[in-house]
């Protein structure tokens, strides 16, 4: 039975099934807390631990690592497709090219300020909290859209922590989608550009879905800022990695 429950096809089924369930729930409720990626991570981790426990009657890091390898083999196709999925981000950028053209100065200012304060606060806080330098570097792209964030942690040579990057990015997005609107209320924000750019550049795609609640324009400008923000962070990462040589 356990070999059936940990077979590649069953692992794939569990992954897509949980994701589908939460995507459906989120579509109904529009709650950022029901983020499908976050809950798929949580439930798949629980499921893998359960498989290890049922199979070996004990759980230790070595057994977990072996089962994770088994799991990775089952869902490898998703990882392989990540590059073309990232390339597809050109489509929303193209669809919003007029927004980019009309607001280019505000978008550049937002990206520069967003990226520098983001990396700056990560370095400062990481140092204050005594975090290991390679983990701090894995947090540089905390506000960048997941696809680009993961590439950045690999670029910085901390690919072994890319999974932490991905998780932190998703949680940042959820935090942003909840806190962002509260901060906007506090600032008495009403213009589309500042609302959209703050949400998009501080909490990427998940924040952008909130920007669309304000207006179509706020959402469009937020979608553009996700990409510009990602690129600028790549440039900063590039400089950092060249300086480290």
């Amino acid at each position: 039975m356990i070999s059936f429950l940990s077979s590649p096809l069953f692992y794939f089924f569990v992954t897509v099934g949980i994701y589908f369930l939460f995507a459906l729930l989120q579509k109904k409720t529009h709650s950022p807390l029901l983020n499908p990626l976050l809950w798929t991570i949580v439930f798949v981790i629980g499921y893998i631990l359960l498989v290890v426990l049922m199979d070996k009657h004990e759980v230790n890091p070595e057994l977990i690592e072996a089962e994770v390898k088994n799991y990775e083999g089952a869902v490898n196709i998703l990882d392989i497709l990540l590059a073309p999925v990232t390339v597809a981000l050109a489509l929303p950028l193209y669809a919003n090219r007029h927004v980019l053209k009309e607001n280019w100065l505000a978008i550049i200012v937002a990206s520069v300020v967003g990226v520098l304060t983001s990396i700056g606060s990560v370095i400062l806080l990481g140092h204050l909290l005594g975090l290991d330098n390679s983990i701090v570097m894995a947090l540089y792209p905390r506000g960048v859209t997941t696809a680009i964030a993961r590439e950045i942690s690999v670029m910085l040579g901390v690919g072994q922590y890319a999974s932490i990057t991905v998780t932190v990015v998703v949680i940042t997005g959820i935090v942003g989608a909840i806190l962002g609107p509260l901060l906007i209320k506090l600032f008495h924000g009403d213009d589309d550009a500042s609302v959209g750019l703050a949400l998009g550049s501080a909490s990427h795609a998940i924040g952008t879905s909130k920007a669309f609640d304000y207006s179509q324009k706020a959402g469009a400008i937020a979608s553009v800022s996700i990409i510009t923000n990602g690129f600028l962070t790549v440039v900063v990462a590039l400089i950092v990695s060249l300086c480290m040589r």
């Binding site: 897509v16 983020n35 499908p36 990626l37 798929t40 991570i41 981790i45 893998i48 890091p61 977990i64 990775e72 998703l78 990882d79 497709l81 590059a83 073309p84 999925v85 390339v87 597809a88 050109a90 489509l91 193209y94 505000a106 200012v109 937002a110 967003g114 304060t117 983001s118 806080l125 990481g126 909290l129 975090l131 905390r142 506000g143 997941t146 696809a147 590439e151 950045i152 670029m155 890319a162 999974s163 932490i164 991905v166 998780t167 932190v168 998703v170 949680i171 935090v175 962002g180 901060l183 600032f187 550009a193 500042s194 609302v195 750019l197 703050a198 550049s201 501080a202 909490s203 790549v234």
Partner: protein, 130 residues
């Protein structure tokens, strides 16, 4: 046929990106291949060499369901469970505080930019009227 053709087009851009990324890495210039692919596809869309309708079904599907493609990478967090059990609260503080700082800074920077742009525009109008 249509879906397969769209998948192939997008994969070709990802592959060209990866190839160029590999060539750049030879001259010690690390740049993610998928981002090169993204820029190339954007340029091809702008110049009209590729019509956005020609890749929109698969492209939109990828974008709408992007999250699932990160699951394999994210699950590897299980291999870092020992470190995480020690630092998770530090990560939580960083997530929260860094968000508030960068959100607030970005918001006011844009407000200031728009204000200055508006002022410059009015000044120009006054000058033209003189």
């Amino acid at each position: 046929m249509k879906v397969m053709k769209q998948i192939l087009i997008i994969i070709i851009f990802a592959l060209i990106g990866n190839l160029l990324s590999y060539l750049l890495s030879l001259i010690n210039f690390p740049f993610p291949g998928s981002l090169i692919g993204l820029i190339l596809l954007f340029v091809f869309l702008l110049t009209g060499l590729i019509k956005s309708e020609g890749i929109s079904e698969v492209g939109q599907y990828f974008i709408d369901n992007m999250g699932i493609f990160f699951v394999p990478g994210a699950i590897l967090i299980l291999n870092n469970i020992r470190i995480l059990s020690e630092i998770w609260w530090k990560l939580a503080i960083i997530i929260l505080v860094a968000f508030i700082i960068s959100f607030t800074a970005t918001y006011w920077a844009v407000r200031l930019t728009l204000f200055l742009q508006d002022k410059a525009r009015k000044k120009k109008e006054v000058k033209e009227n003189d």
